[in-house]
């Protein structure tokens, strides 16, 4: 029997974390012998399904390299590293975890696919389609995680199956809503819900885009504009541009996934309003902003409202308590055709050229167990939207009423490519920043129709090519 580390208890031939659900291998084999215990059934026993896919590999002495995006909640990144190291020490596996700026992640994954070097990679929405032939089929593991978690959240279910297979296991996605300064909005006459009451009553600051723009004009007049990134970055620019497009009757493609539906008169009109609003109500340096710029601007008191994850709030709670006290969140505004949020699933996948696929599977199976995954979710205090439904009822959501808007976000989530299905083409359009650049061109040139035509031509080249 393996010698158990402090904090772990010996369990058969390997150690498991104290408090983690467990079962002996003998019991498992016995159950399997009944003929009724397939992979699916294994999923009903928390912490066990990992044994089902293949005979446990001899991991000791191997190494495992994990690549993912850097965290906007630093404590969560530290926790993930600690968890990976703990698992590695117990299993005798040398674990290396690398975290990259969001825009640098995809080129690095591409390089790893060509040249090797990583076993587990974090995939942003759409990338599991782009790299479909280079990812290990993790259907058994993903289905077990989904089953154990009460099923995928809607934004996950729509997104992560490629040709009927799961090429990664989703951990959810970071959240995104409108962050605002309470006192500054009150100064310009906005009637705001009491943060403590909003979760109980279900009331939140419910704005249309046009109302938001009008509000921005008043706020900018007081030197506190709205902030919206429109640069080449994976997070915030798309978080505004895609929903604004959808809310105004346009989309990349129709449901058929082929017919370009971008150059719509309603969208051209909406873009004209946005161009004017950007001058009147926004910080006009936004076209050069990346994902961190609005965080810095909000903390510096330069902007009064911005679409962002709750990372602004989380950092404020720690470093800018006065700002944290004076801020709240609400859902992204709505347009004539509804309210949407760009929300696809991020997954952990295993590269086919990994030299330690067995170790990578073991690690993911262990990490998606409630203990590890739950700790990781909890430390982010709602910044991370969990991938499965059972976490929607987690007490975490009731702890801070200012996080209420984020709990509503999954219900309005749509992925890239919507109304078509997410696929390699929508991933390509996203990687080329076609939608974001359409907006950036529009505010720079003032030509709504020309910019949208440019975007439509680019989309035609991608979807029609």
């Amino acid at each position: 029997m393996a010698k158990a580390r402090k904090g772990w208890r010996a369990h058969g031939e390997r150690s498991v974390r104290k408090g983690a659900p467990g079962i002996s291998r003998r019991a498992l084999l016995k159950a399997a012998g009944t003929g009724a215990l397939g992979l699916t059934a294994l999923g009903t026993v928390p912490g066990l399904w990992r044994w089902g896919a293949a005979a446990p590999a001899q991991l000791k002495g191997t190494s495992l390299s994990i690549l993912q995006a850097t965290y906007f909640i630093p404590a969560a990144q530290d926790l993930y590293k600690k968890q990976a190291q703990e698992w590695g020490q117990v299993q005798g596996v040398t674990v290396n975890t690398d975290f990259l700026n969001w825009p640098d992640l995809q080129p690095k994954i591409s390089a790893a696919i060509q040249a090797g070097g990583y076993d587990i990679v974090e995939l942003f929405p759409g990338w599991n389609y782009l790299y479909a032939e280079n990812l290990v089929d993790l259907t058994d593991l993903a289905e077990a995680v989904a089953k154990k978690g009460g099923g995928w959240e809607g934004f996950v279910a729509n997104d992560i199956k490629v040709n009927g297979r799961y090429l990664g296991v989703s951990h959810g996605n970071s959240n995104d809503s409108l962050n605002y300064r309470i006192s500054w909005l009150k100064e310009v006459g906005v009637n705001l819900p009491d943060p403590a009451e909003q979760a109980r009553t279900g009331k939140f600051l419910d704005l249309t885009f046009d109302e938001w723009f009008a509000l921005g004009k008043k706020l900018k007049a007081k030197g506190r504009p709205l902030g919206q990134a429109l640069g080449h970055s994976l997070g915030d620019p798309g978080s505004f541009c895609y929903p604004y497009m959808w809310s105004n009757g346009a989309m990349e493609v129709e449901k058929d996934g082929k017919t370009i539906a971008f150059n719509k008169p309603m969208f051209v009109d909406a873009m004209k309003r946005f161009i004017q609003a950007y001058k009147d109500g926004f910080d006009e340096t936004g076209p050069s902003w990346d994902d961190s710029s609005n965080n810095k601007a909000f903390h510096a008191g330069q902007i009064s409202m911005t679409l962002n994850g709750s990372s602004i709030y989380a950092v404020a709670l720690k470093d800018f308590p006065e700002i944290a006290k004076d801020m709240n969140h609400t859902l992204i505004p709505k347009g004539p055709t509804g309210r949407f949020s760009l929300l696809g699933a991020r997954t952990f996948g295993i590269l086919k050229n990994s030299k330690n696929v067995a170790g990578a599977r073991e690690f993911l199976a262990w990490w998606f167990d409630d203990k590890q995954y739950g700790d990781w979710i909890h430390i982010q205090g709602g910044y991370q939207l969990p991938s499965t439904k059972k976490w929607a009822k987690d007490p975490m959501w009731g702890k801070d009423p200012k996080m209420y808007a984020f709990s509503l976000q999954p219900s309005i989530g749509r992925d890239q490519g919507w109304a078509g299905p997410p696929n390699a083409k929508s991933g390509l359009a996203f990687s080329k920043y076609i939608i974001v650049d359409t907006f950036a061109k529009a505010v720079q040139s003032g030509d709504a129709a020309g910019s949208i035509k440019w975007g439509a031509d680019q989309l035609q080249a991608i979807y029609g090519g």
């Binding site: 825009p103 995809q106 080129p107 591409s110 390089a111 696919i113 060509q114 782009l130 790299y131 032939e133 280079n134 429109l230 640069g231 080449h232 970055s233 910080d283 006009e284 340096t285 936004g286 076209p287 050069s288 902003w289 710029s293 810095k296 601007a297 510096a300 330069q302 390509l428 990687s431 080329k432 920043y433 650049d437 950036a440 061109k441 720079q444 440019w454 031509d457 680019q458 080249a461």
Partner: protein, 315 residues
């Protein structure tokens, strides 16, 4: 010729075994084989790190390869397709503007700096070392410094100008089309000027003082001495530096990737950054290779000019 070696001292004929044992030594003693041996490491490095990637890139550009898919041969389809891509056309324009505007500035500023550094000024050696700093510091690092200087919210430039009452709003250095490309050019000029300064300085030090003295005796002023004595002697160095700089500027990547990633709305994309975006982020590695290879004819012409000039100089 008289036999200088007595028979006893003469080496014995090599047996087959001994011939084998001394073979490497004889190889080292013969000039042609020694030359080949000395060239081998460099050749291997060139083959592994230059020739192989180049030919691989050439092959990829002729295929529809995606990351992780080998792809199939499609001839010149990628190159033709790119001509119809408005982002690529904008990228090509940007690259030419970026290179052709920055290089003259770098040349002029580098020449000026070199002339100053060639005079007897206090702390000359320390200043020369300092001038090299932009060139020595890794570009990725110095680009981060420029990123902070151009920050839309916290730029010290904007802060100073606001403090002096010259502007009321932050300057949008990297967020407007013209200013964005101008800003990255300024950073490029800052980084590239020391290269010109140091190479031209080396050329200036080869100018014989006697020529200047003779010209001065003949009544030539400072400008005439510079134009008629200095310039003809350093012209070769200036030309070589300029060609090298054009090549390096055309092939730039790091500075723009760190500062703008080609944004806003592709206004600062150059061949290197767009090839990277299409090849590695958008996973169309065949197309990415084709974008990068569009640089090749331009760089090849420059390289041929450079080599012809150098050969003429040697001759």
């Amino acid at each position: 010729m008289p036999d200088l070696h007595p028979a006893a001292a003469r080496p014995e004929p090599l047996s087959a075994g001994r011939r084998g044992a001394t073979y490497p030594r004889s190889l080292l003693e013969r000039e042609p084989s020694l030359g080949l041996l000395l060239m081998l490491p460099g050749t291997l490095l060139l083959v592994i790190f230059m020739a192989y990637p180049f030919f691989l890139g050439l092959w990829l550009s002729l295929t529809d390869s995606m990351i992780g898919h080998p792809g199939r041969y499609v001839g010149l389809q990628n190159f033709v397709h790119l001509l119809g891509d408005s982002i690529f056309r904008q990228t090509a324009r940007n690259t030419f503007v970026y290179a052709l505007v920055t290089v003259p500035f770098k040349l002029m500023l580098g020449l000026g700096l070199a002339l100053v550094l060639n005079t007897a000024i206090p702390f000359r050696n320390a200043i020369r070392a300092g001038v090299l700093m932009p060139f020595i510091v890794p570009t990725a690092l110095s680009s981060l410094g420029w990123l902070m200087l151009f920050d839309p919210i916290f730029s010290p430039f904007s802060w100073l100008l606001k403090h002096w009452g010259l502007i009321t709003r932050n300057i949008n250095f990297l967020g407007t089309p013209v200013l964005a490309i101008v800003s990255v050019m300024v950073a490029n000029i800052w980084r590239g000027t020391p290269f010109f300064a140091i190479t031209i300085l080396a050329g200036l030090q080869a100018v014989p003082a006697e020529l200047h003295d003779a010209a001065a005796i003949d009544g030539a002023g400072a400008w005439q001495r510079f134009w008629n004595v200095t310039v003809p002697i350093i012209l070769g160095v200036m030309l070589v530096s300029t060609l090298f700089s054009i090549i390096m500027t055309f092939a730039d990547f790091q500075l723009i990737y760190v500062l703008t990633k080609g944004g806003p709305a592709n206004e600062t994309h150059i061949f290197g950054t767009y090839a990277y975006q299409i090849g590695l982020s958008a996973t169309a590695i065949g197309q990415g290779a084709a974008i990068a290879l569009y640089m090749f004819p331009i760089l090849a012409v420059l390289a041929i000019l450079l080599l012809r000039y150098l050969r003429r100089e040697v001759a």
